[in-house]
């Protein structure tokens, strides 16, 4: 069957694998930064800190309400036009900024819901023994909220890994960008993109396995 060039596909695997680390780096860095930002937003929202709360609401609304691709173009092509110091921003940085802000907006809401979901009597108990608000958050609320939020956060992480493919529109040669180059050289588009698709798929599957392990560990305290 000459429809599918299997040899080409097998040969492409090691070539594309070289670009997987950049894809993972984009997603990994984006996820860590987005989590930090999202926790900050969630706490601001839960405690209704004046001014910051309103700013956060607008931020979340904007970054949830506009396409990621538009945001990436804004960061990469738009910002340097406004602020000349930002002309040094490269595609990788712009992608990480976009992913961070876009996904932090989504994650903030699920973290907030998880925090609010922690039994109020437990927060009272924490205060009653003389803990500060910070201690209560760190030791009692956030550990329990993490467990509740974990499945949704992992979903966002999976989404983010796939969203890194948009970086190729900013000229970043990550997995998608590399595949695009290979394919336009060989004209074997189907073979090239199916290899890329399988690579994304395998990464996401491995992540799902990790999620299962984490959930079992975090649920230990709550089973009868």
């Amino acid at each position: 069957m000459d429809v599918l060039n299997v040899d080409y596909m097998l040969g492409l695997v090691p070539v594309l694998l070289r670009y997987l680390p950049l894809t993972l780096q984009l997603a990994g860095t984006g996820m860590v930064l987005a989590l930090i930002l999202a926790c900050l937003f969630a706490v601001i929202r839960v405690l209704r800190i004046p001014v910051l709360n309103q700013l956060t609401i607008v931020f979340i609304s904007f970054f949830r309400g506009t396409p990621l691709l538009v945001q990436l173009f804004l960061f990469y092509y738009g910002l340097p036009q406004l602020v000349s110091a930002l002309t040094v921003i490269d595609g990788v940085t712009a992608t990480i900024m976009g992913l961070t802000m876009h996904f932090s907006a989504y994650m903030a809401e699920s973290i907030r819901a998880a925090i609010v979901g922690v039994d109020r009597s437990q927060t009272e108990a924490a205060l009653s023994i003389g803990m500060t608000n910070g201690q209560m958050m760190r030791r009692i609320v956030l550990p329990q909220a993490t467990r509740v939020a974990l499945p949704t956060l992992m979903n966002y992480f999976i989404d983010m890994i796939k969203a890194t493919s948009l970086a190729f529109t900013l000229g970043v040669t990550e997995l998608m960008g590399a595949t695009q180059k290979e394919a336009s050289g060989s004209f074997l588009y189907f073979e090239a993109f199916i290899v890329a698709a399988i690579m994304y798929w395998v990464v996401v599957e491995l992540l799902s396995k990790l999620q299962n392990h984490l959930e079992i560990r975090l649920n230990k305290a709550y089973s009868r």
């Binding site: 039994d119 009597s121 437990q122 009272e124 108990a125 924490a126 205060l127 009653s128 023994i129 003389g130 803990m131 500060t132 201690q135 030791r139 009692i140 550990p143 329990q144 467990r147 230990k220 305290a221 709550y222 089973s223 009868r224």
Partner: protein
């Protein structure tokens, strides 16, 4: 010693506590009774600053605060001198029995780990749950959870332990073990303020019974007087009703 001077609590225009004056000696066991919604729980919650009282002054041990002007440091300090036992136990679900008790020593009192866990283990043995050290709240019975709740309060080494209807959420089969532990604490002369409908506990254990109605102390005295010779018609009425369903 605890001293409340015209302590009030308003929720909006509703007056829940209407100028409570009360002095409780070290080692005294005080039981607070009264109809529901008359401010009994609010009184305990105000002493622990889970609610900020509206007016009055409060002394616990060597600390006196004007509740209206209490700052964050004073509120923390007040909470650390008082310990609270909740109706629904309110154990930390992400911590084991041992950790629930040690938490305060570790985080608030900043004890070294080893010492905190040693003390927590002593308390677990005292409350008869030594073998449950590593159990999480979800795997314990209501009675066991409430005993850990009391253990957590004991760890505070507080001037007073405040019990807010500690047996009201319990299945009847677990009530005795919790009351038993409270009696044990009473016999060690731990200062206690207890809001409860367990009239036999009040009669047998309390040094003083306080009847609250409408946010005020209506009548107080030793259990023998309150139960067998109440003076105020509201006390008589309340006792008649509650003793009909909950005989001493």
């Amino acid at each position: 010693m605890i001293k409340l001077d015209s302590l009030s609590k308003h929720f909006g225009s509703t007056v829940v506590l209407d100028g409570i004056d009360l002095t409780i000696d070290k080692g005294e066991i005080v039981v607070i009774i009264g109809p529901s919604g008359t401010g009994k729980s609010t009184l305990l919650r105000c002493i622990n600053f889970l609610e900020q009282p509206t007016a009055g002054t409060m002394t616990v041990g060597d600390l006196t605060v004007d509740v209206k002007k209490a700052n964050r440091a004073e509120i923390l300090s007040m909470r650390r001198r008082t310990a609270f036992v909740f109706q629904n136990y309110a154990l930390f679900a992400n911590k084991t029995a041992l950790q629930n008790i040690a938490e305060r020593l570790l985080v608030v009192d900043k004890w070294p780990k080893e010492e905190a866990y040693r003390r927590a283990r002593e308390i677990l043995d005292q409350i008869g749950l030594g073998e449950k050290a590593d159990a999480y709240p979800a795997s314990m019975s209501g009675g066991q959870q409430q005993r850990v709740g009391i253990g957590r309060a004991m760890a505070a080494g507080a001037e007073v332990i405040l019990f807010d209807e500690p047996t009201s959420s319990l299945d009847p089969e677990w009530v005795e073990e919790v009351l038993g532990l409270m009696k044990q604490l009473a016999s060690e002369r731990q200062t206690m303020m207890v809001v409860t409908h367990e009239m036999s506990f009040a009669r047998d254990v309390a040094d003083r019974v306080i009847f609250i109605d409408g946010g005020r102390i209506v009548e107080q005295g030793p259990p023998s007087e309150i139960f067998y010779n109440p003076q105020d018609p509201r006390t008589k009425d309340f006792l008649k009703k509650i003793l009909a369903t909950n005989p001493v």
